[in-house]
Symmetry: C2
Subunit: 235 residues, 2 copies
């Protein structure tokens, strides 16, 4: 396992207690070869994400994944200890990337968060923040090449307890920024549902879109976001 590879930034890959065995280090580090190794690993994760989403984890064979990146059947196990570790890599990388992009989306949107706002301005501000969060969430689930988060949402069952724990932490990180927004909306009367249940119901409404959204159809992600806002939020 290569700790320098982007994927491995996630806390744990395997379920064993002592990770990071490391290959021999006797050569100049970070040459082209090492980076290509990382690329192949990323290829595997991307192919796995696509197949896991389309056919499900259990119905996807490691041979399917190997074929998709032009490898032979045994080769994925040079990069990943097990099929389960590949699933975990997909999910962890998906969450890591989603959290990063969410931070960015918020930073771009909340330039006014430090100034003094009157009541009406602050009502609009929290509504705008929720819009940004929802819009970004749709993007992450339904945007081009977004297979990671759908896999994360629908393949929890196949994780080990350990992996579940770390994924749950990543998910809490992702949701952490939603709660204050929902609380502000509740306090200002724009949200009438208790925040805790509201969070669960709203995420449900959004996450379910993976099941029915069709990019070729009429509604785009902006339309979806506006519909969701109209459903949940009063003025």
């Amino acid at each position: 396992m290569n700790l320098d590879a982007p994927i491995s930034a996630a806390p744990e890959m395997s379920d064993t207690a002592t990770p990071a065995v490391a290959k021999p280090r006797g050569r100049p580090r970070k040459t082209l070869e090492e980076r290509e190794d990382g690329n192949r690993k990323n290829d595997l994760v991307a192919a796995a994400a696509k197949l896991f989403r389309k056919k499900g984890f259990d119905a996807t064979s490691t041979r399917d994944i190997a074929t998709a990146v032009g490898m032979r059947s045994g080769s994925p196990f040079y990069h990943f200890k097990s099929k389960g570790d590949l699933l975990y890599a997909v999910m962890a990388e998906g969450m890591r990337s989603a959290i990063e992009k969410q931070q960015l989306a918020l930073k771009n949107a909340s330039f006014s968060s430090n100034s003094l706002l009157n009541l009406e301005q602050s009502r609009q501000e929290s509504r705008r923040l929720l819009y940004v969060l929802i819009r970004h969430h749709f993007e992450v689930m339904l945007g081009a090449g977004s297979d990671f988060i759908p896999v994360m949402l629908y393949e929890w069952r196949s994780l080990t307890p350990r992996q579940r724990t770390t994924m749950a932490q990543l998910q809490r990180d992702y949701e952490a920024v939603w709660l204050p927004v929902l609380e502000a909306l509740f306090a200002s009367g724009q949200l009438k549902c208790p925040v805790k249940l509201a969070r669960l119901l709203i995420f449900g409404a959004l996450n379910w879109s993976v099941q029915w959204f069709d990019a070729k159809k009429e509604a785009g992600l902006d339309d979806l976001t506006e519909a969701a806002m109209a459903l949940f939020i009063r003025d």
Copy 2:
């Protein structure tokens, strides 16, 4: 395949074009033996529903199901042509039962639907109908011994195209009664989201509860229903 068994009321069981081969009919029909046969079939469907929900369709072996009802590995295939037919039986039976119970819940609730109502009364009436529909939907997904609908919601991928078509029809039947209620709420300004998207988002919010609801926890199905109403509907 026994066409008299309750499960087989569903339009199709297998994917082949010519179903219903039928066993020799040379004995008095509908004896105890035949009914016991039906019971065993129902046992299999119930056990399959439970296991499919817990482990997923692909991760459940027909041996698991056989063991759960005290049969040997080959015996389920006396009752069902294939594992896929068992899945279809679970889903079709789940929907048939859900539709039936939904009709009943509506009948008990809408005694006033035929009388003349003033504006405020009709506003309250459509809100109450939505409450009944949501409450019933939670019951069907989260109530005691309700494994059928969760399986139906999360195992579509494993159906054949033919089976998908008939399931889609059953689902339309189930949802048919929701649309006029949502339209009335939209017309009266209690729902601000376009009806078509509202239906998808609302079902998402409800269906996702299968992932997080814990019967041992604080909130009950009534609490859930009230939270959902507060989230979606204005007065």
